[in-house]
C-alpha cells in the first residue's frame, strides 16, 4: 500500500524501461443535442504499465476493451484525457509539436489492416522512403540505396520499389507496413493486430520477420492482439485488458501457466486447442462485454464473473503484486 502511495505522488523513471505508462485515461465524449455533453465512453480507464528495452509486451482482450486506443494514446495519435506516458523518461504529452515530430522517428506503429493503411497512389519506394526523406535521416544521394536495404531486410525485392500497393498480397503488404515503420530506425513499435488479417502460414512468416528484426535492431514492441496463441509466442510480458482497465499483468510464462484473474482464466479456457483429444473444462462467459459508456460499479467484471462476491459489486479492486511482477486486480486475492 505504501508503495502505491509513492507511485501516485511522484513518478520515478527507471533507466531499464523504454516506456512507462502511468494512470493513463482516455474518455471519448458522447455529444447530445446542440453539442451538450451527455457522458463519456471510458475507452482507457486508469492503465499503468511499463516495458523494458528490447522486450515485447503483449496486450490482449476482447474487441472494444480499449487495446487499440491504449496503443494510439501512447503514440499521441489521439490526445489523452489524464495520466502520463514516459518514453525514455520524457513525458510525451508535454512535448511541443516540433519536439513530438522529432520523437516520431523513435516511435512507430504497424496497423491491423494492410489493405487500408497504404496509400494506393504512392509506389512502394515512396511509401517507405517518404518519412526518411522528410526527417532527413539519410543524405539525399544515399536514400535510394537505404530504401533498398530496408526492403531487403523485410523480405521485399528491390524491383518492388516502383509498384503500387494493389499489386501485392496481404502478407507482402504487411511487410511493406513493417518496412515503413523500421525505415526510420525506431526504438519502439506499436503493433496493432499486425497478423489478424492474414492466413495461418503467412501469419507465421510475418511473426518470424518481426522477431528477426527485434533481434537485429533491438526493437521494443507493444503487441496488441486478440489471438492468445500469437501473443504467447511473441511476448515477454502480457497485459490482459477488460473494459478499459488492465486486470492482470506479468511475465508470459507466469500468466499462461498460472492465470489468477477469473477473466484471464475464462479467456484462456476459450482458446480452441488443435488437438482433438484434449477436452478442456471450458468456463463459458455469459453475455457480452458491458457498454464502456456506463461501466458496472465496483469491479467492472463482476456482472460476468463466476466467483463474484458482495464486495465486488461496490468496491473496485486494487492492484496486488503476487510476486515476480505478476500483478492482478481482483478481490479474490485480498488478504
Amino acid at each position: 500500500m505504501a508503495e502505491q502511495m509513492k507511485n501516485e505522488e511522484a513518478f520515478v523513471h527507471n533507466e531499464e524501461n523504454i516506456l512507462e505508462v502511468n494512470h493513463l485515461k482516455k474518455y471519448f465524449p458522447i455529444k447530445g443535442a446542440l453539442g451538450t455533453k451527455r457522458g463519456a465512453v471510458k475507452a482507457v480507464d486508469d492503465v499503468t504499465f511499463s516495458i523494458k528495452k528490447g522486450t515485447t509486451m503483449g496486450l490482449v482482450g476482447e474487441s472494444g476493451c480499449g487495446k487499440s486506443t491504449t496503443g494510439r494514446t501512447i503514440l499521441r495519435l489521439i490526445e489523452k484525457t489524464d495520466g502520463e506516458v514516459y518514453f525514455n523518461g520524457i513525458d510525451v504529452n508535454k512535448l511541443s509539436k516540433k519536439e513530438l515530430r522529432a520523437l516520431r522517428t523513435k516511435m512507430q506503429i504497424i496497423f491491423q489492416d494492410p489493405y487500408s493503411s497504404l496509400s494506393p497512389r504512392l509506389p512502394i519506394g515512396e511509401i517507405i522512403g517518404e518519412a526518411v526523406r522528410e526527417h532527413g535521416l539519410v543524405p539525399k544521394e544515399e536514400l535510394d540505396e537505404y530504401i533498398t536495404k530496408v526492403m531487403l531486410s523485410c523480405g521485399l525485392q528491390p524491383y518492388h520499389k516502383d509498384r503500387y500497393p494493389h499489386e501485392f498480397s496481404g502478407g507482402q503488404r504487411q511487410r511493406i507496413c513493417i518496412a515503413r515503420a523500421i525505415a526510420l530506425n525506431p526504438d519502439f513499435i506499436v503493433c496493432d493486430e499486425p497478423v489478424s488479417a492474414l492466413d495461418v502460414s503467412i501469419q507465421a512468416q510475418v511473426i518470424n520477420l518481426l522477431k528477426d528484426l527485434q533481434d537485429q535492431l533491438g526493437l521494443t514492441y507493444l503487441f496488441i492482439s486478440h489471438d492468445l496463441s500469437v501473443v504467447e509466442h511473441i511476448s515477454d510480458t502480457v497485459g490482459v485488458m477488460y473494459l478499459g482497465g488492465l486486470v492482470e499483468t506479468g511475465a508470459t510464462e507466469d500468466i499462461f501457466a498460472n492465470p489468477l484473474h477469473p477473466y484471464t482464466k475464462a479467456l484462456f479456457s476459450a482458446i480452441p486447442m488443435p488437438d482433438p483429444e484434449i477436452k478442456t473444462d471450458r468456463i463459458i462467459l455469459e453475455g457480452s462485454i458491458p457498454s464502456p459508456a456506463n461501466p458496472p460499479s465496483g469491479c467492472k467484471f463482476h456482472t460476468r464473473c463466476s466467483e463474484c462476491m458482495e464486495i465486488c459489486k461496490n468496491k473496485a479492486p486494487e492492484a496486488r503484486d503476487m510476486g515476480n511482477g505478476h500483478v492482478v486486480r481482483c478481490h479474490l486475492y485480498d488478504k
Binding site: S201, I202, I207, L228, S269, I271, P276
Partner: protein, 384 residues
C-alpha cells in the same frame, strides 16, 4: 525502347478473345439452366451410402474470367455422414467457400459454373437430388429447408432495414405456407430462445444494428436452423468474433446439431476450431482435397506435407517454440496451374515421383486418404 510487359500481362485483344470464348461456354450452361421444366430423371439419383447426408463426387467449379479460367474447385470429393460434423480447412483462396456455394447453387453466375461432378443430397426415402442439375425452382425448396448456410460476417448478412423478427419470419413463412401469421411468429420467438437470447420478444422487434456481433451471429444461426435443415453449412461462423464469444457460438452449434439431428459442414482456417468441433476433416489446397480423414487421423498423424506445414505454422498455447515454421513460397497462380502436384514448388519433402502427374488419392487406412507420392508405397503395401 518498348516498355517491358510485366509477367502475366494480357493485351486487350487477347482479353477480348478469351471473353468471347467464355461467353460461348457460359451461354451453353445458362441455356440449360434456364429451361422452364426439367425432367426428373436429370436430377434424381440415389445415394451411394444411405448413411450420408451429402456426397460430393469429383466436383469442378470454374470461373470464366477475362484473364483466363480459374479452377476454384478442381475435383473435390468427400462425404458428410448423418449427424456428424465435417471440417474443411485451407487457406483463403483454396476453394472452401466455392465448394459450399456450389452446394447451395449460389456461385456467381454466369461466370462461375459447376462444369463437372455430382453433389448428391439425401432427401430421405431412398431419394437423392443431384444438386448440380437441379433446376432453380426446385432449389428454392431445398435452400433453407434441407440445407442452410451460416455466413462469416454477421454484420453484413442481416438486412439492416428489417426487424430481426421479420427476417426470421420470412424464412419460416416461405417454407411453411400453410402456417398462420401467429404460428410463424410463435415459432420465431421459439427460435430466438433456442439460440440462447433471453429477451426474445424484445430482440424480435430490434434492428440488426442494435445487437452485438455475437448476438447477430446467434440470429443468423436461428435463421439457418428455423426449418430444421438436414445439413448446416457454417462458412467461418466465428472468424469475426472474439475467443470468448467464439466459445459460446461453437457450444451452441454443437448443442443444436444434436437437438435437431442434422449434420454440419464447418468451413474455417482455424485448426483449433476444427479439432474441437469436427469428427471428420478435409484439408484443401488450391482447389483440391489433399488429405481427408477423421480428426484423430489428421491431427495425430498428418501425412500430406501441406497439412504438416499448416500444423507447424500455428503457434499453440503451452507449446514453446523458438521460431514458427513457415511454408516457403506462395500459392500458385490459379489461372495457370502446373500439371504436377500443386504443392511441389513449396514442398520440402519432395520425392522422385513428384515431377509426374498430379498424385491420386491413396488410402492409408479405412478413413484416412492422402494425395501425395510419399505415401504410395505404404498404401500399396496395405492393400496387399
Amino acid at each position: 525502347m518498348a516498355k517491358k510487359k510485366p509477367e502475366g500481362y494480357l493485351s486487350a485483344k487477347e482479353s477480348r478473345r478469351i471473353s468471347r470464348e467464355n461467353r460461348k461456354i457460359t451461354n451453353e450452361f445458362e441455356k440449360k439452366r434456364k429451361r422452364k421444366s426439367v425432367p426428373e430423371e436429370e436430377y434424381v439419383t440415389v445415394m451411394k451410402d444411405e448413411g450420408n447426408v451429402l456426397e460430393i463426387d469429383n466436383l469442378h467449379t470454374y470461373f470464366f474470367t477475362d484473364a483466363g479460367t480459374v479452377k476454384s474447385v478442381n475435383g473435390v470429393s468427400f462425404e458428410v455422414p448423418v449427424g456428424k460434423t465435417v471440417g474443411v480447412v485451407g487457406e483463403s483462396g483454396c476453394g472452401k467457400s466455392v465448394t459450399s456455394l456450389s452446394i447451395m447453387q449460389l456461385v456467381q453466375r454466369p461466370q462461375g459454373q459447376t462444369v463437372d461432378g455430382e453433389i448428391r443430397l439425401n432427401m430421405g426415402d431412398g431419394k437423392a437430388y443431384n444438386i448440380v442439375n437441379t433446376p432453380n425452382y426446385k432449389m428454392q425448396g431445398i435452400r433453407g429447408n434441407y440445407v442452410s448456410m451460416i455466413f462469416q460476417e454477421p454484420m453484413t448478412s442481416l438486412n439492416p432495414v428489417f426487424r430481426i423478427g421479420d427476417q426470421i419470419d420470412e424464412v419460416i413463412a416461405l417454407h411453411n405456407p400453410e402456417m398462420s401469421k401467429e404460428d410463424v411468429r410463435k415459432k420465431t420467438i421459439e427460435m430466438i430462445e433456442l439460440v440462447g437470447i433471453a429477451n426474445s420478444e424484445g430482440v424480435a422487434r430490434m434492428y440488426p444494428h442494435e445487437l452485438s456481433g455475437g448476438m447477430r451471429q446467434r440470429i443468423c444461426i436461428a435463421i439457418g436452423l428455423a426449418c430444421n435443415p438436414k445439413l448446416i453449412i457454417a462458412d467461418e461462423p466465428t472468424t469475426a468474433l472474439d475467443v470468448t464469444i467464439q466459445a459460446q457460438i461453437l457450444d451452441l452449434l454443437r448443442e443444436l446439431k444434436d437437438k435437431i439431428n442434422s449434420s454440419i459442414m464447418l468451413i474455417t482456417h482455424d485448426l483449433g476450431v476444427i479439432a474441437e468441433m469436427a469428427d471428420y476433416v478435409v484439408v484443401m489446397y488450391a482447389g483440391r482435397v489433399v488429405e481427408k480423414g477423421t480428426a484423430t487421423d489428421i491431427f495425430k498423424n498428418p501425412c500430406h506435407p501441406y497439412t504438416i506445414g499448416l500444423m507447424n505454422s500455428k503457434p499453440v498455447v503451452g507449446k514453446k517454440v523458438d521460431r514458427l515454421y513457415s511454408i516457403p513460397g506462395k500459392v500458385p497462380n490459379p489461372i495457370d496451374m502446373p500439371n504436377y502436384c500443386f504443392f511441389k514448388d513449396r514442398c520440402e519433402m519432395c520425392v522422385e515421383g513428384c515431377a509426374g502427374a498430379y498424385p491420386e488419392m491413396v488410402k492409408l487406412s479405412d478413413t484416412h486418404y492422402v494425395s501425395c507420392y510419399r505415401h504410395y508405397d505404404n498404401a500399396q503395401k496395405e492393400e496387399k
